[in-house]
């Protein structure tokens, strides 16, 4: 108890990387950036991208369920990612699965205490960084 649980943080890092990839796609388009064409995941076709997103969705749900120590998670996470975490929480709340919703509500309460009501409003208002 009290020690930093690295595994869920790593998984949350996956969520954040996934978000960054989404953001790159919106900025550069589905064709991808010309500077690093060889390794750019944006060159995947739309069908493959959708399959990848579905796999990531399942991973996100598992990542959310694995989060145990919220204080260490919030202290390790940059404040700019609180809004993204909030969006993922709302996504988890829309699933309807009871354990997922319970966990999401627990994290939502703590995140609202930490980040304030502005975090909820930003997750509603931000149509650029979608999850």
């Amino acid at each position: 108890m009290g020690t930093l649980n690295k595994r869920p943080l790593a998984q949350l890092g996956t969520i954040i990387n996934h978000h960054q990839l989404n953001r790159k796609q919106e900025i550069h388009g589905a064709e991808g950036s010309t500077s690093n064409r060889g390794e750019d995941p944006l060159r995947l076709s739309k069908r493959l991208w959708k399959a990848r997103l579905q796999r990531l969705e399942m991973r996100d749900a598992r990542a959310l369920m694995a989060i145990k120590d919220l204080d260490s998670l919030f202290s390790a996470l940059d404040p700019e990612y609180y809004d993204i975490l909030m969006k993922y929480l709302y996504r988890g709340l829309s699933t309807g699965d009871r354990p997922t919703c319970d966990q999401c509500l627990r994290i939502h309460e703590r995140l609202t205490e930490k980040a304030g009501l502005g975090c909820i409003l930003r997750s509603l208002a931000d149509t650029v960084n979608t999850v």
């Binding site: 709302y90 709340l93 829309s94 309807g96 509603l124 208002a125 149509t127 979608t130």
Partner: protein
């Protein structure tokens, strides 16, 4: 906030209903307790729509919920923030515009919605109990003549 219609001059419409301009709509939130109970919150620049789906365990609750909420929806003018017709897939909807926020206190509006959500299940359970009680009494009286 007050945001007149971009399409038609001198008109002021709730953008969450019209959905004419995508840039005026914000992200919607769906919160599900389970498959049967959910709450959809749709937001826009000048209005907000909250739709609720109430738990209905059996056919009787289904009928009672439908009748009761239809009764309320028909008197939507008295409630001001109630929508006459619920959004498809939901049992009841509220439409809150910037004018409502100006005339009424926001905290009281929130309290009203929360209280409504808390009381609706209680009301429907009471209705169900009263229907069952009356049914039992009527059946008992009717069958007494055959004893």
């Amino acid at each position: 906030m007050n945001f007149p219609c971009q399409e038609v001059e001198r008109h002021n419409k709730p953008e969450v209903e019209m959905k004419t301009s995508q840039e005026l709509l914000l992200n919607s939130i769906l919160i599900c307790r389970n498959e049967a109970e959910k709450c959809l919150i749709e937001t826009s620049i000048n209005s907000l729509r909250i739709s609720l789906k109430v738990k209905q365990a059996d056919e009787l609750e289904n009928i009672l919920t439908k009748k009761f909420l239809r009764f309320l929806s028909m008197r939507a003018e008295a409630f001001q923030v109630l929508r006459r017709k619920p959004v498809q897939g939901y049992d009841i909807s509220f439409l809150i515009t910037n004018f409502h926020c100006e005339e009424m206190q926001k905290r009281k509006l929130i309290d009203f919605i929360v209280q409504f959500m808390e009381d609706i299940e209680k009301e429907i359970s009471e209705l169900k109990m009263s229907v069952n009680t009356r049914g039992r009494l009527v059946a008992t009286e009717f069958l007494k003549q055959f004893i």
